[in-house]
């Protein structure tokens, strides 16, 4: 039973460290990135509206810019999803290493 407790405490410590590493600041970072995208899109719209009014660009340009911003929104979402997946991959790798290392260190004769 002592061996099990030792194994359990090693896994607990390793998993706790992995959780902190994988999730630390993630939500805050995603919120910040989303806000930055929205702020940039709002500034873009202001710029293009002024340019359209001044005749610097035409309606074709204006439409193309809006479509480009919509695609960039999709790219921002894909990047956020990719960052989450990469963090999950690292967490998974750490979890596997932790459990295997703890088992070997505790139970290997």
């Amino acid at each position: 039973m002592g061996q099990w407790d030792d194994f359990a405490s090693k896994v607990e410590a390793g998993v706790a460290a992995a959780c902190v590493g994988a999730l630390k600041g993630y939500v805050k970072e995603m919120q910040s990135d989303a806000q930055a995208f929205l702020a940039a899109a709002a500034a873009d719209l202001e710029t293009w509206t002024a340019q359209l009014a001044a005749g610097t660009i035409d309606s074709g340009d204006f439409t193309a810019y809006l479509k480009a911003d919509a695609s960039l929104a999709q790219m921002a979402a894909l990047t956020a999803a990719g960052i989450a997946a990469a963090d999950l991959q690292r967490f998974r790798d750490t979890l596997i290493d932790t459990v295997v290392s703890a088992a070997v260190a505790t139970f290997k004769p």
Binding site: M1, W4, F7, A8, V11, E29, D33, A36, F37, A40, A43, D44, T47, W48, Q51, T56, I57, G60, D61, A64, Y65, K67, A68, D69, A70, S71, L72, Q74, M75, A76, L78, T79, A81, G82, I83, A85, A86, D87, L88, Q89, R90, R92, L95, I96, T98, V99, V100, A103
Partner: protein, 156 residues
């Protein structure tokens, strides 16, 4: 064996099961990162050239478009790389529905030459697209903050 011990046996089995699963996302690729960063610079250079006639840059456009398509094919060929490849597809969505690279080319072709305001906007929009791709690739290696989107320079 207590419930706690059973739980840790389950954890061990779960870890082994996770190990047996495929990767969640492709690993970092230096080639992909290099493609993203060099093509970002090359596309920005081409946008700068759009103050001169579209017709006089047909060769430059063909050459760069080919390199972009090669980079897409590299991304598409990597296992578990669906998210990065989808970003390439958005960047290279073809005319008439293209919204980024081919939309810039369509605008340049339509106007013949682009003015400073148009060049500033397309430079910024395409830079942002590459920045998302670069940040995703960088995060496959280690957790990294993405740069805030560039703002479009004011034109006077």
């Amino acid at each position: 064996m207590t419930h706690r011990h059973v739980a840790y046996v389950v954890a061990l089995l779960a870890a082994l099961a996770l190990a047996a699963c495929g990767d969640v996302i492709a690993g970092y690729s230096l080639q992909a990162y290099t493609n993203d960063t060099t093509l970002k610079a090359d596309v920005a250079s081409l946008v700068e050239e759009s103050s001169s006639p579209y017709a006089s840059h047909a060769g430059d456009i063909s050459a760069l478009t080919l390199r972009l398509r090669e980079a897409y094919e590299f991304s598409n060929g990597e296992a578990d790389n669906r998210l990065s490849t989808k970003e390439w597809e958005l960047l290279l969505k073809p005319a008439p529905d293209g919204t980024l690279y081919f939309a810039f080319l369509a605008a340049w072709n339509r106007h013949g030459v682009l003015n400073t305001a148009q060049i500033n906007t397309w430079t910024t929009l395409l830079d942002r697209a590459f920045d998302y791709m670069i940040c995703l690739e960088a995060n496959k290696q280690s957790s990294t903050s993405c740069p805030k989107p560039e703002t479009i320079p004011a034109t006077h």
